[in-house]
């Protein structure tokens, strides 16, 4: 039997996944992180992007996270996401709309009262969602 570890993915609103997995690929701020069992303790900030994991049955599944913190202990991996979604709940139209709104907000209006960081984060999240949808789409052969 392949070695496994426990993965918990929680967001402020809900618990997205809790179960045994063989491998996790997480979107760290400095690049994607692949985590296998008995990984050394690690703590990392996450950017908006796709979090993939391989379940015990060997199937790959993925979730969208909008950033957060990842903690790795040898047998437990915890993802504290700010917000997140299951891949099947992603909506390209909504993501494009969010991206457009964020871009408009960046261009228009008075730069004084803009919260650049927040809008930038929204923009990044929307972009990451669209990218992820495309990748999944390709895999499914659309």
């Amino acid at each position: 039997m392949a070695m496994t570890f426990h993965l918990d993915v929680v967001t402020a609103e809900q618990s997205l996944f809790s179960g045994t997995v063989e491998e996790v690929i997480a979107p760290g701020v400095m690049g994607d992180l692949g985590i296998l069992p008995r990984h050394s303790q690690l703590i990392s900030k996450l950017r908006a992007g796709e979090l993939q994991y391989k379940t015990e049955e060997g199937a790959m599944a993925s979730l969208f996270v909008s950033g957060g913190v990842l903690e790795v202990q040898p047998h437990v991996v915890t993802v504290l996401a700010d917000t997140g979604m299951r891949a099947e709940d992603l909506d390209e139209a909504a993501a494009r709309e969010a991206m457009k709104q964020a871009q408009d907000a960046l261009q228009g209006k008075d730069p004084e009262d803009l919260d650049y960081e927040a809008i930038q984060a929204e923009l990044e999240a929307a972009k990451a969602q669209i990218e992820m949808l495309h990748r999944i789409g390709k895999m499914r052969g659309h």
Partner: protein
């Protein structure tokens, strides 16, 4: 017949009050259900967060965040008190304040000053003369982190600048809809829970810098605990109000029953008296 007119008016007014308490009970019940859902939804995050932070406090890290360092000499402590904005929820707030005062009294015995930060109008009114440093009221039934963070920041800054050496959170724990337990928990410095058996020396790998990650983590930790406290407090408030209003409605029903009995007795006595008067009059003729 003008017998017991006062009693009839009283029955009617109690009946009106009962209608109101009944309506409040039902509103509180439906709000409680929603608040409970919100509370349950955010609980896993808060639990996992607590776990991760206790790992951080347990490990031997290259960067010591101020929140993980316990100061030996305590001169001043901070309290964050979560209460409701409105009353009519039984002993919920009073029990909480008693618990808070009890805990503060222990510090005062050791000559430690206390700073207070309150959420909710009830606590603001109750602790006015104890010296409130920061307060936030009327957050509604769906508290938001963004609304609370400014108030919390006052206490966090005080901690970082060394003006307070401990920060406690006083909130109601939602056990079930009949029971709410007031409790005092230490927010910072973070208490490492001894349940994990990670004993040897170890440190994390960091991405990016250790300071940046731990700072981000600690900020989220505080936010999540405060948010969880606020959401839980709303659920407690609704549950307590539901129970209080239910017993008020029951009592009103009981009072109406008793008054009706008195009214009927009085009416019967008046009729009996009238008959006996007529009979006596007839006999005299």
């Amino acid at each position: 017949m003008a017998v017991g007119k006062e009693i009839l008016t009283q029955i009617k007014s109690i009946g009106n009050t009962k209608k109101i308490t009944k309506a409040m009970e039902m509103v509180a019940a439906s709000k409680m259900r929603r608040a409970q859902d919100r509370m349950k939804a955010s609980r896993p995050y808060a639990d996992k967060m607590r776990q991760v932070v206790s790992h951080v406090a347990y490990g031997h890290l290259e960067y010591k965040h101020p929140y993980t360092q316990t100061r030996e000499n305590v001169k001043r402590v901070g309290y964050i008190i979560m209460s409701s904005d409105r009353g009519l929820c039984g002993g919920l707030n009073v029990n909480l304040f008693k618990r808070a005062l009890q805990s503060m009294a222990e510090w005062k015995k050791q000559d430690v000053e206390v700073d207070i930060c309150v959420f909710g109008a009830k606590a603001a009114a109750a602790f006015r003369r104890y010296g409130i440093v920061a307060q936030k009221t009327h957050m509604g039934d769906t508290p938001k982190v963004a609304d609370m963070i400014g108030t919390i920041k006052v206490m966090l800054d005080a901690y970082e600048e060394g003006r307070i050496d401990r920060l406690f959170l006083v909130e109601n724990e939602f056990v079930n809809s009949m029971t709410q337990k007031p409790q005092v928990t230490q927010l910072i410095p973070v208490v490492a829970s001894g349940t994990d058996s990670i004993k040897h020396h170890w440190d994390y790998l960091y991405e990016p810098e250790s300071k940046e990650v731990i700072d981000a983590l600690m900020q989220r930790y505080i936010e999540s605990l405060i948010y969880q406290g606020a959401v839980e407090n709303v659920a407690c408030e609704m549950a307590a109000r539901m129970v209080a209003m239910k017993s008020a409605s029951d009592n009103a029903g009981k009072m109406i029953g008793e008054l009706k009995l008195i009214y009927n007795k009085a009416r019967q006595a008046a009729i009996t008296q009238e008959i006996s008067e007529i009979v006596a009059g007839a006999a005299a003729v």
